[in-house]
């Protein structure tokens, strides 16, 4: 009875996370994680999002009954925890970490929005880190993921815990030349003909984070980025509805 002895399947999101870890391992990144229930300090204040500031509205938040704890809205909370733990142990940078994890947003769900999803947070702290490093590592990542040159483009944006802050785009996997240059004007459901696909947010670590944990901002600098795991999976396999990842339907899972 062959059908009964089939191999099982690893969830597509686990596969994406493992792909990302594979690429970043080569670049000397190690793993980190933090709790899914965070306190206000690690999720917001330490990340330069003070209470009663409109920046809090950028991420609709699920609060717990004590009004001090919440479901983390971003894996960036791991940045602060990791640096704190490092300093407590008397250690210092350089560090390079990758923190894949589940995050939550209190927003109505539809094919593109889910109340829970996964992010991969990257943090590199070293001496004299600059924007070209951020760009370089992101290109290495997408290049490793797709096995070909994948240029990255930075656009100005704002995330309170980085400055300068960016949204980053990767060249469209369908609308690119062999060398990786974007091709504009094609009819494409991925990039709408722009040649670029929006992938996440990033920036140089804001000195506020170093001050929060007690790391000398004159000596150390860094970059951080966040990439949506579901987004990578949807792009890779052409999945159109984000909710399908969590419906527990083997007719979906067993395709991977």
């Amino acid at each position: 009875m062959t059908s009964l002895n089939k191999k099982g399947h690893v969830h597509p999101l686990t596969q994406i996370i493992n792909e990302a870890v594979t690429v970043f391992r080569e670049l000397d990144f190690t793993l980190a994680d933090g709790p899914e229930i965070e306190d206000e300090y690690h999720n917001f204040d330490a990340l330069n999002v003070p209470s009663n500031h409109p920046a809090r509205d950028m991420q609709d938040t699920f609060w717990l009954e004590d009004n001090k704890h919440l479901l983390r809205t971003q894996t960036s909370a791991v940045q602060v925890r990791y640096l704190e733990e490092m300093l407590k142990k008397g250690a210092k940078p350089p560090i390079r970490i990758l923190a894949p994890g589940k995050v939550f947003r209190q927003e109505a769900t539809d094919a593109r929005h889910e109340s829970q999803f996964h992010q991969i947070e990257g943090l590199l702290v070293d001496k004299e880190v600059n924007v070209s490093h951020l760009k370089g590592y992101l290109e290495k990542f997408f290049g490793g993921l797709y096995g070909q040159a994948m240029p990255v483009r930075l656009r100005p944006s704002f995330f309170p815990f980085v400055e300068p802050g960016f949204e980053f785009d990767m060249v469209c996997i369908k609308c690119r030349t062999n060398k990786g240059e974007p091709i504009r004007g094609k009819t494409c459901s991925l990039c709408s003909g722009t040649g670029w696909i929006e992938m996440g947010g990033a920036g140089l670590v804001h000195p506020h984070i170093f001050r929060s944990v007690g790391l000398d901002e004159k000596e150390w600098s860094g970059f951080a980025f966040g990439i949506g795991v579901e987004r990578l999976a949807m792009l890779k396999w052409g999945i159109e509805d984000i909710r399908i990842f969590f419906n527990g339907d083997l007719r979906f899972i067993n395709q991977f």
Partner: protein, 641 residues
């Protein structure tokens, strides 16, 4: 916010074409969400994020950006100061200057409140605003021009002096929308000597509403403390264009230029005699200078930016520069976000353009660098268990953290059945065993699933669990689910090199024994794990995976059995079926029975038929079957009826 191209032109007459302007804004300032043509104008929908909402939720703000990006001149807008007449004194009292930092008032007599002229109606309509009358529209226009909310009261309905004070408990106000709001001591209001006239920074009240009958006005341009406005807005559950601007903080200097523009516009549209400007500004806010090492900019951007170039960019952004070994920078009064060196790095970087920055990476990390082994181990053990379980036929699910019961409650759930955080994985796995059993193709098929996920058993306690579940539709002599599960657990123990029991949290067995779930403390399993063999992360990645959407319509199952010779290749038969079945066949035919008799071989295949567009009829399924049967017969095989 919506921005009008024509409106921006007032400030930058040599504006580039709309598409070019859009591109400049995207790559040097803000995300443009849409660009549409409307009433001989172009309307930009631009996402102004909280770092710039204090100065760019208005056309002047965006015009300043555009002028800096395209190196164009920003043209000052001429404001005609109306002639001043000696009107009755306007007394203004501020109870607490911390919360009302500035209050500018002015009397205007003998105005004519009427409809706005076409140009004003259109200007407001193009950015999504409704025209009310010339006075209210003038206030709105100036707000969308300069970013300063304004208000006008009907002076004849105001009893005595203007008071900016906190409300008394139980005081009430009916807003311009007609809603009655009960106030308390945390709500700052504008009142006369009798009643509340407006909720500070949020909304005007009915009492002194300006109507077509209004003859005399009191104009207001004030600056309220942002955190207070934000708290008030949350408490009253009222968000307005004004509160949005105040909670993002506005330069206190803007109030005066706004009052001047407001007056000029009212004079033009509604005539009137203007009294003196009464400006209560107890503690003028000083601009903080920032010292930076000018070379820091090049270092962080990894761009060779000359000092001359940096200085030029700062000047374009109205940032004062005092050169020296260290530079002393003075931001313009409207740039409340420029507080430390990195903010100036961003200014130079975005104006030059991030596309100029090359890509590099750092040398390898020194081997003795800090890292945390426990995270590595947790990840590795997770992957090892995934590998072990999938080899045994189990598939991995990801569930929701939200549940309809549990111990930890969410204050603001998306739905009542998602008000708790799950306290365990078992419930959900049982549910999924049952829902997946509906879709099995063979009656004796077993559902095998697992999840590694976080649960929240009580307040302040979260842990990662591993749950493994098995389920069948009916009893099978050859298959004991409990024995099967034991084997699985044994396999995990072996893989993690642990000889004791695994830390069971729960063992669920349904009454009929057909559904069984084991839930373990995954974090303890990680602790127990000995030196495990590291598996390559990408070995869990299936490079051949292809995804096809699951049809929402029911499927139909058909079996086809065929006599073949003993040497016939099974693949040959499969091939014929695949080629003749057409698009309704889901996946490949599944061989489920095979026996030999009298030198012949019988092969039975199960076919799953399904459409992405509709519910299939029996007839349609039969048609597919007939086609396949015909093809098999034609190829010389005997189809068993």
């Amino acid at each position: 916010m919506l921005f009008s191209y024509n409106w921006l032109k007032k400030y930058v007459p040599t504006l580039p074409a709309p598409e070019k302007l859009e591109e400049g804004i995207i790559f040097h300032a803000f995300e443009v969400e849409s660009l549409d043509q409307k009433n001989e104008d172009w309307v930009f929908e631009i996402k102004i994020l909280p770092d710039r909402a204090h100065d760019c939720l208005c056309h002047l703000g965006l015009a300043r950006e555009v002028a800096a990006i395209f190196n164009l001149t920003l043209q000052p807008v001429k404001v005609d100061e109306p002639k001043i007449l000696p009107l009755e004194i306007l007394p203004i009292k501020i109870e607490d200057e911390k919360f009302c930092r500035r209050y500018i008032g002015r009397r205007v007599a003998n105005v004519c409140v009427t409809d706005s002229p076409i140009w004003l109606k259109k200007a407001l309509e193009n950015i999504g605003q409704r025209s009310i009358n010339n006075v209210v529209d003038a206030a709105n226009y100036v707000m969308f021009d300069l970013g300063q909310p304004l208000h006008a009261f009907d002076a004849d309905k105001v009893d005595g002096a203007i008071n900016v004070r906190f409300a008394r408990p139980g005081e009430k106000i009916v807003t311009l929308d007609g809603d009655e709001v009960t106030l308390d001591e945390s709500i700052l209001i504008i009142s006369d000597e009798k009643d509340p006239l407006a909720i500070a920074g949020l909304k005007g009240g009915k009492k002194a509403e300006v109507t077509k009958e209004t003859k005399n006005l009191i104009l207001e341009a004030a600056n309220f403390e942002p955190v207070m406005v934000r708290k008030m807005s949350a408490k009253i559950k009222l968000k307005t264009d004004a509160s949005k601007r105040f909670e993002n903080e506005i330069s206190t200097q803007t109030a005066l230029s706004a009052m001047e523009m407001f007056s000029s516009l009212i004079s033009e549209l509604a005539a009137g005699d203007f009294g003196e400007i009464v400006d209560v500004y107890p503690k003028p806010i000083l601009i903080e200078k920032v010292k930076i090492d000018p070379n820091f900019i090049s270092r962080r951007l990894a761009l060779e930016v000359s000092l001359v170039e940096s200085k030029k960019i700062f000047e374009k952004l109205s940032i004062g520069v005092e050169e020296g070994e260290e530079w002393v920078l003075t931001p313009p009064h409207w740039r409340l976000d420029l507080k430390e060196a990195v903010n100036f790095v961003e200014e130079v970087g975005r104006i030059i353009g991030y596309d100029k920055i090359k890509s590099t990476i750092l040398p390898n990390l020194p081997k003795d660098s800090y890292q945390v082994e426990s995270y590595e181990k947790r990840f590795a053990v997770g992957n090892l268990i995934r590998q072990t379980l999938t080899e045994l036929g189990f598939s991995e699910l990801f569930g929701y953290a939200f549940a309809d019961k549990g111990e930890v409650k969410v204050v603001n759930p998306l739905a009542n059945d998602k008000a708790f955080l799950r306290a365990e994985l078992t419930d959900w796995l049982v549910e999924k065993i049952n829902s997946n059993l509906i879709h099995i193709i063979f009656d004796n098929e077993i559902i095998k699933i697992f999840e590694i996920g976080t649960v929240f058993p009580s307040e302040g306690w979260e842990e990662i669990r591993l749950a493994i579940g098995l389920g069948a539709r009916k009893k099978n002599k050859n298959q004991d689910l409990a024995v099967e599960l034991k084997k699985v657990i044994q396999a995990i123990s072996e893989k993690i090199r642990w000889s004791g029991e695994l830390p069971v949290i729960k063992n669920f067995v349904s009454l009929d024994g057909l559904c069984q779930v084991f839930e373990f403390n995954f974090e303890k399993i990680v602790d127990m794990a000995g030196p495990i063999e590291a598996i390559a992360e990408n070995s869990l990645v299936n490079p051949e995976a292809n995804y096809f959407p699951v049809s929402p319509y029911p499927r139909i199952i058909r079996d086809v059995a065929v006599w073949v010779s003993e040497v016939t290749n099974i693949e040959e038969i499969k091939e014929i079926i695949l080629n003749s079945a057409g698009p309704l066949l889901l996946g490949a035919p599944i061989l489920f029975d095979e026996f030999k008799k009298e030198g012949k071989k019988s092969l039975a295949f199960r076919l799953v038929l399904q459409s992405n567009k509709k519910t299939l009829s029996d007839q349609e399924a039969n048609d597919v079957y007939d086609k396949i049967a015909a093809q098999l017969e034609q190829a010389g095989f005997e189809v068993r009826k």
